[in-house]
């Protein structure tokens, strides 16, 4: 919102108030159409292209948005609003490492603009840069305790780092300000689970079962299944993981959890098959390899077990013993 206010500076001469109103109402398709009408008249106007880019971004048209923002930057090199737009698109597209330098530059130029900083905080979150992300997002919520988006990103950041108690606190603050964020609700249930508040977490997952925005996602079933697994309800967990696999059949993580549940239910042959499927889908996933190793050993398949052990040893040498070794 604030960014759009800033954008007005760049588009003083253009009468696009109607399109802006549509954008501000969240009617992105209509706004996009209106902006594109103006584009015929002003094909190289950066401020107009910028608006189009944000519409495309809001409509999850990341490829188009990226191209639009890059065009803006070719017309107005270093334009910080376009850097924010491009950084946000790259973050959403899973390229947060590329986004961070752009966003850091934009934050400096925009003198600490909230939206730019929030975008940077989110990029840190997605890139796994915990310390930088925590610092950025924490500052935002301290400046404005009603900033529900920053509370949400901070909650997710803390959750991903397994700081469950402060994650729960941040998610609850976000939900208190903006209760209709289904993803925050799923994360909240997950944080309760991590904190060992299993009954409360289960209650949340049951409540979410009625929420159409989340109850069809594989993440929901994965989180619910993991909770049941922690509670020792391996059969219940298996049912949830299988429901998740129906929605996302090529997720190695889901096949891993299915294999683990089957293993705990002593259905060793089925567990072995599921673990092999997991490793086939994600050969670099240590959890799948470790489970497969255990299962091969239980089946007396020592040669196959040795292959998994060799892979795990080689993997660790690559990632963990020490830099430069």
């Amino acid at each position: 919102m604030l960014l759009l206010v800033l954008l007005l500076f760049w588009a003083q001469a253009i009468d696009i108030a109607t399109a802006d109103r549509l954008f501000n109402q969240g009617r992105y398709e209509a706004a996009l159409e209106a902006y594109q009408q103006h584009l015929k008249r002003l094909p190289d106007e950066p401020a107009l292209l910028l608006r189009i880019g944000f519409c495309q971004y809001s409509l999850d048209q990341f490829d188009k948005a990226e191209a639009t923002f890059r065009r803006v930057l070719s017309l107005a090199p270093g334009m910080p609003q376009a850097q924010v737009g491009l950084g946000s698109v790259l973050t959403a597209a899973g390229r947060a490492e590329e986004a961070i330098p752009l966003l850091e530059e934009a934050v400096k130029k925009l003198d600490g603009d909230v939206q730019a900083r929030r975008a940077l905080g989110r990029a840190y979150l997605e890139a796994g840069k915990f310390i930088e992300g925590e610092e950025t997002l924490r500052a935002l919520v301290e400046e404005n305790p009603r900033d529900w988006q920053s509370w949400f990103y901070l909650g997710v950041l803390l959750f991903d780092q397994n700081y469950s108690a402060p994650a729960l606190e941040a998610l609850e603050k976000s939900l208190a300000l903006h209760p209709d964020n289904p993803i925050a609700l799923v994360y909240r249930a997950g944080a309760l689970s991590q904190l060992g508040r299993l009954d409360e977490a289960e209650k949340e997952f049951r409540r979410l079962a009625a929420n159409a925005a989340v109850n069809r996602s594989s993440e929901y079933f994965l989180g619910y299944g993991q909770l049941l697994f922690l509670k020792g309800d391996y059969a219940g967990a298996l049912a949830k993981f299988e429901a998740a696999i129906e929605r996302d059949p090529d997720s190695a993580k889901l096949h891993y959890w299915r294999a683990r549940s089957l293993f705990y239910l002593k259905r060793i042959d089925e567990a072995l098959e599921a673990a092999e499927k997991c490793v086939a889908l994600a050969p670099n996933m240590p959890g799948g390899r470790n489970l497969l190793l255990r299962l091969y050993r239980l089946k007396g398949m020592e040669k196959e077990a040795a292959e998994q052990a060799a892979w795990l040893r080689a993997h660790e040498h690559k990632v963990a013993i020490g830099r430069g070794r």
Binding site: I131, Y163, S164, P286, N290, L298
Partner: protein, 547 residues
């Protein structure tokens, strides 16, 4: 006793609830473990230090030895505040500082202590391991010790890595020749001049171990003539680079030989299987104890290897860092991988929010099931991100018949709730009342002695072993008892317990309601079996190995 139970219940104290009172100050122990920190967040500061309970003067009363840090970056004990300290106990929970008289103040920046009678002369010696400086103090038998490190070949200097940073050490007899050998776990290549900086200028943090190169552990064979041979590489131990933390021993595959478990920091744990030919195979992955079940290497800290489910097989427990969950591996028998019992036992949920260092599996309430004590604290400044205090109260997990563990910390007494940077912990019966007490070191704070005051009608029995062909203390021997109801328990003799610490060699069993033990079987190192029968409860039995 029944009346007492009723009175306690009336007073709001649960009968059978494990309870401790903290008595260090009134016991005369005012030791402060100092890490020399000056706001630079040097890695060594984080890792101090261990504690031992042992009987150095053979008076039947446990004594306490604390290791201590040093000034930084010199790594020197520049004043008495950095001395290691020996406190002599009188069996009545009073201790006297005899450090100077005994000559065991130490040198350098100390980390670990390992006590045992390495020369089979009837008194326990002290090995101190630390940063670039290890010391063997031979007990002279007259209340004094002599530094014999160089003379016996235990400086710990590696031909490839030179002086190393040791975190833990432990005595065991890997070749069953009757002489105790020494295992040292080493941590990382560290130099104060090249210490990386981590965190932010506002919130500095200790760096993750990934920032440093790992080191091999070491093994020294006792030649029986008072000297040691470095067999680190010929035994195969030196082939494996880790970031060694706690060390514990056990005959995991039931072949009569001692194997070694090493908890590593953020890389996989090691299980060194003793081949019986002077060599070891590292089989942690094959036996399922190297990683958490999801393939993650936890920040392993302290370890203990005892039979928690009374099936006669030594299991493995290790502590870790917040969100790791501590790990409990159940031994399923020779040839089979261990089962990861962390989730089914409730350990995973109970420990997820904890960071803990030393640990031990002991039957604190004498109900016949070994409970778990963990010396807990997060890393300094981590509390900034956790939005909580980095200091923690200790963690006490009560064993529910070998199936589940319940966190009973909040009911263990008011002093048990106090937060501190708890690190080292050693276990033993300080007042010989049949209840296991705990001595805990605290970084930059006063040490704690948790006197076990659990009220119960349960009985106990304990065994001191005296080897003849085996090593004098019988380290590595297994003791199995059978009670009148046919139930059995197994425990083994070891002093290397937890993190950087050393515990009483005496083997303690809780007997529940049983007033006698029907049969005792001692499996001495080397395989000799000795049986005793019809022993009355509530006493310490000395068992001498037959000629």
């Amino acid at each position: 006793m029944r009346r007492l139970a009723w009175l306690l219940a009336f007073a709001g104290v649960a009968f059978g609830q494990i309870r401790f009172e903290e008595i260090a100050r009134e016991a005369g122990v005012e030791f402060v473990l100092r890490n020399g920190e000056r706001g630079r967040f040097r890695q060594v500061e984080l890792m101090v230090a261990g504690v031992a309970v042992f009987d150095y003067n053979n008076d039947g009363c446990l004594d306490i030895y604390f290791t201590n840090g040093g000034a930084l970056p010199s790594l020197r004990k520049t004043g008495p505040e950095y001395y290691n300290r020996l406190y002599e106990g009188d069996c009545r929970l009073h201790f006297t500082d005899v450090t100077e008289k005994a000559g065991v103040a130490g040198e350098g920046y100390s980390m670990a202590v390992a006590t045992a009678d390495y020369d089979n002369d009837g008194d326990e010696d002290i090995y101190v391991a630390g940063v670039n400086r290890n010391i063997l103090y031979r007990n002279n038998g007259d209340g004094t010790f002599t530094d014999v490190t160089k003379a016996v070949g235990l400086t710990g200097i590696d031909p490839k890595y030179g002086k190393m940073w040791a975190i833990s050490a432990g005595w065991f007899d890997y070749d069953n020749d009757g002489w105790l050998d020494l295992f040292i776990s080493n941590y990382i290549v560290w130099d104060p001049r090249t210490e990386p900086r981590c965190g932010t200028p506002e919130v500095p943090l200790y760096c993750h171990p990934d920032n440093y190169h790992g080191l091999p552990d070491q093994l020294f064979r006792n030649k029986g003539d008072g000297t040691f041979e470095d067999v680190t590489y010929s035994s195969g131990i030196g082939e494996h680079i880790g970031k060694g933390m706690g060390v514990a021993f056990g005959d995991f595959n039931r072949d009569g030989r001692q194997d070694v478990f090493v908890a590593n920091d953020s890389v996989r744990s090691f299980l060194f299987e003793n081949t019986g030919k002077g060599t070891f195979r590292e089989v942690g992955l094959e036996y399922g104890v190297a990683l958490r079940e999801d393939g993650a290497a936890i920040a392993g800290m302290g370890a203990d290897t005892r039979d928690y489910d009374n099936d006669g097989l030594p299991d493995i427990f290790l502590t870790g860092m917040i969100n790791d969950t501590f790990l409990l591996f159940r031994n399923l028998g020779p040839g089979l991988p261990f089962a990861d019992a962390s989730i089914p036992s409730g350990i995973a949920v109970a420990t997820r929010q904890y960071t803990a260092w030393s640990t031990g599996l002991y039957d604190f309430d004498n109900d016949g099931w070994k409970d778990i004590f963990c010396a807990a604290s997060h890393f300094p400044n981590l509390g900034h991100y956790l939005r909580t205090d980095s200091r923690l109260p200790n963690l006490l997990l009560q064993n529910r018949e070998g199936k589940r563990f319940e966190d009973v910390s909040t009911r263990a007494g008011p002093e048990f709730q106090e937060r501190a940077f708890h690190h080292g912990a050693a276990f033993g019966d300080l007042d010989n009342d049949g209840r296991i007490d705990v001595v805990v070191s605290v970084v930059n704070g006063p040490a704690k002695i948790f006197h076990n005051i659990t009220e119960s009608a349960n009985h106990w029995i304990a065994f001191d072993l005296e080897g003849r062909r085996a090593n004098r203390q019988g380290l590595g021997a297994e003791i199995t008892i059978r009670l009148p109801d046919g139930s059995r328990q197994m425990n083994h003799v070891q002093t290397s317990v937890g993190y950087a610490s050393s515990s009483q060699a005496r083997v303690h069993f809780g007997l529940g309601a049983a007033e006698r033990v029907e049969e005792v079987e001692v499996r001495w190192p080397g395989g000799k079996i000795q049986r005793l029968s019809g022993l009355e409860a509530d006493r310490v039995v000395t068992v001498k190995e037959p000629e």
